[in-house]
Subunit: 348 residues, 2 copies
């Protein structure tokens, strides 16, 4: 980042669902502990098993004035079926954390647990913003092109799976929400927004995409650059790519599969021959770059957009650093009033 | 290939649309010329500008007994809009070639020209097989896993854009067509067929996918392995992946974009530093392998499935070798009676 993050005027409280991530509660607590030292404008409300949280805190350097704990006796595991698990565990940490945000005890929510349970917990405790019919899960992923004045190497794609289908209205709302998020979080004053389709011409795609295209073209306050194709996802032709949750989920997981392929081939090459091995050792920084450009897992949180409260879904494999970043992103979205920016962008 | 291709009992005539590919008529003629020497069971009917074809033949070694020429005065360019171009040019080479096949002058069709025009020309001259409501364009692409007894490193994905939307019936028909093609062309006696969705559970995905899942699960004669996700496309978890044309088109083009990214990064690394350059020179075979696994453009023809005649759409950037391969694949599909195999697989 070229400019330092401005410190918000007031303290923002972020509720962290501490349970159910791949590396366990101590990793999430460690992230909040880092925040308590480096981000004095954030108060962390840790929700989960109080004993485990306190044990982890005792072993991690932190500022106790900026951390509080709220006990939740149960939690949803990664392998649980979301609806069934929330029904069975009314005191699950993700439900408790969402409830605390809805009741005003915290300003935003961060979770690295089960994605489906997180979205469902938000849907049960938060309200959709007026004019929004469906929430969207947006993913930040790395691209070849850079974006905005900060030369950000990441783009945003949404929806990647909050809901499987989308109408033209939903796609328009996703475009507005994605643009508002890119403006605030990536500090990109005029993000280029595109619709994902099977051709660049306005008439290409299923009816919902064609209809959304014609509406977005007429809208002021959004820089709509038209349709982009699959090839433009890794290229990064647009700052914000809009699609329904089914297509977005398939695309995002395909990026993950390609990253695995690249890493596996590099390992294969490493084992294969001494000649390759020598080459690989010399090329290690190149391979690292290649890996980082295709491995979306490395990058922070995915915002769940459309609710009246901020919710950042961190990846299940988040380390402490990623958790701390997700907390900062959540605080920035709260203090910049993301919800108001979305409402202002919606067609009237 | 471990076993030699069996020579069909009778000569198969394949009509080649010679015009409109990226490397010009001479490249397609060169492919047919190779065929005339190495595949005595194939007769090539070259359709396009007779002067250009004869000039190209005069400069290429070929067996004149296995090549004939049919003049077509016009052709569709890559940049033409398909419907408009076919309307304006009733004697376009692709229309003429499809007509010759429909009239029995040839047994199958190969084109490396404009894909949309090819599918439209087929739709106007061929009939859909009974029980098929929409044709599908299937793409052969390289995967990490190998497939079938031949250890084929390619899988099939369809539809990749013949039609944008698909019903549950269409998805079931695509599964049957893809399985029949894999059986015949890849000699995979029991290809594993999967539906592309946003989760592996049977209830995941939009209604059309959920419905197709429940029908495919009940069908005999097809090895349905359930839903796969985006991550499984490059992995190659299934031999045949079924989706609607919108999703398939986005995925295929995304693979292309990822291939470009990998190649560009390799070039960047090459320019970047002497140290990298030395490493890259040693690693060149590794990079080539990496490139070949992600660059679907290198691989042969994409079958257009569902019509009563065989049609192999070769890539616009096909070289002579790829054209010859597309001719062989078309002849194999004809002599193995692909249409009958599809009809036998359809639900009754």
């Amino acid at each position: 980042m070229s400019t330092p993050t401005p410190t918000p005027d007031r303290t923002v409280t972020i509720a962290f669902d501490v349970m159910g991530s791949d590396y366990g509660p101590a990793e999430v607590v460690a992230g909040a502990a880092q925040l308590s030292i480096e981000a004095p404008w954030i108060h962390a409300l840790l929700v989960g098993d109080a004993d485990q949280i306190n044990d982890a805190l005792a072993e991690t350097r932190h500022n106790g004035e900026r951390i509080s704990v709220h006990h939740a006796a149960q939690f949803v595991a990664m392998t649980d079926k979301p609806a069934e698990a929330l029904h069975r565990m009314p005191d699950a940490s993700i439900l408790t954390a969402a409830r605390l945000v809805a009741q005003g005890e915290a300003d935003g929510l961060v979770s690295a647990g089960n994605t489906g349970a997180g979205i469902l917990a938000a849907a049960r405790n938060f309200k959709l913003l007026p004019g929004i019919r469906r929430a969207a899960l947006a993913a930040v992923y790395p691209t070849r092109a850079t974006h905005g004045p900060k030369q950000d190497p990441f783009a945003l794609i949404l929806d990647v799976g909050a809901t499987v289908e989308a109408t033209a209205d939903d796609l328009v709302a996703f475009a507005v929400m994605g643009a508002a998020y890119a403006k605030i979080i990536s500090r990109n004053p005029e993000p280029q927004v595109a619709l994902l389709s099977n051709g660049t011409e306005p008439q290409k795609g299923p009816p919902r995409v064609v209809e959304a295209h014609s509406r977005l073209r007429m809208m002021k306050g959004i820089k709509f650059i038209g349709n982009v194709e699959g090839v433009d996802i890794p290229k990064g032709t647009a700052d914000v790519i809009v699609c329904d949750g089914f297509v977005g989920n398939v695309c995002l997981k395909m990026l993950e599969g390609v990253a695995e392929t690249v890493v596996e081939l590099a390992q294969y090459a490493y084992k294969e021959s001494l000649r390759w091995r020598a080459g690989l050792a010399m090329l290690s920084s190149g391979i690292e770059k290649l890996k980082s450009v295709t491995d979306w897992n490395q990058y922070g949180g995915a915002p769940v957009l459309g609710f009246d409260h901020v919710f950042i879904k961190a990846h299940g494999r988040s380390r402490a650093r990623a958790i701390a970043n997700a907390g900062k992103v959540a605080a920035k979205a709260v203090s910049s009033d993301l919800s108001r920016a979305i409402l202002q962008g919606l067609p009237t």
